[in-house]
Symmetry: C2
Subunit: 198 residues, 2 copies
């Protein structure tokens, strides 16, 4: 199959607001009825659940517990607000690369879910884009509501809408059945890494 | 181990020249004597071989057969010079993300090797950088000269010098022994992908 028609372009995703990572109004345009993992439960991108909103990372999400949430996923270290904002600004200066989406419980102003789509530009495959799904996490108090499904599906559909020829992720073998629901395949390709520090 | 001292910062890598992807003068500062895959043959970053130079991708490498070389790696499609230049410019607008290095045979102005380091910014691991080695290819007429070793090692050491907490790659199982030479490990983590088009 040739490259599909891409409905959005980078300019749709650039957000002039300094405190918003990407223009997430386009998330609302994703048609949930075409999700590969059909959600036969009452949540969607527009309605993640009572009191919840799914949106781009904001610069003030540091104050809403974003780093605490990431601490439920992996090691974060003791990141100051200034360091957080510097990394946010660095991402913002490279539009079209880092799409970090979060779910906020607006009733208590806490970030309760997050996932990242990272986009790489290539010269192969007709100067393609390639997506990678990273750092999926749902707050322990909010599990069992299918929010992880929603984030993974949104990141995956987003990558397709942006025009990625493929999207990949690396995970523990125990999560293979979870990602297979979204039509990710574990082919013969292997994942290798070299760690310089923790 | 905590984050190692990082000798370089992004500004060292930003290149004001429109036709050079990144400031590759820093490549010359990589000390080959500390390469994990000790090269007991007479090539190095400074001297990849008679008539060969290792450097950043240049905008005019399209005219030096860069896309033809990539065609020895995977599907490239029929990319026009204009499309190539547009993708080059898009990468250039996001400094610190795409480090594409090439080996040119200056005797005939042909690109004979290439490899890419892609850098992702994270909020985890003390607002870390993470590297990915991608698209390693050596021209069929130039194989057996350890140029693939040189490119992989340069990309890996570069990622460490930039401050990446880890660097990864995905490959066919047959290439596992090759990447193990550079101290990449195949842990229990698995690689999954979803392809939208070829």
């Amino acid at each position: 199959m040739e490259k599909e028609e891409v409905g959005w372009c980078l300019k749709d995703w650039i957000c002039d607001k300094d405190d918003v990572l990407f223009n997430d109004s386009v998330l609302q345009q994703i048609d949930c009825t075409h999700l590969s993992c059909y959600m036969n439960y009452s949540i969607s991108i527009k309605n993640p659940g009572p009191g919840l909103v799914l949106r781009s990372l904001h610069k003030n999400d540091y104050d809403k517990g974003y780093m605490t949430l990431l601490g439920q996923l992996t090691r974060t270290g003791d990141v100051t607000k200034e360091r957080f904002e510097a990394q946010f600004d660095a991402m913002k200066q490279c539009p079209g690369i880092h799409y970090i989406m979060v779910i906020e419980d607006v009733s208590n102003a806490i970030i309760v879910g997050s996932g990242t789509l990272v986009v790489e530009r290539k010269f192969t495959h007709n100067t393609a884009l390639r997506g990678r799904v990273e750092d999926i996490v749902v707050h322990s108090n909010y599990r069992g509501r299918h929010l992880g499904n929603l984030i993974v599906e949104t990141a995956t559909v987003l990558s397709q809408k942006l025009g990625c020829y493929k999207t990949s992720l690396d995970c523990l073998p125990s999560l293979k059945p979870f990602y297979e629901k979204f039509e990710f395949e574990n082919t013969s390709v292997i994942f290798m890494s070299k760690r310089f520090y923790d």
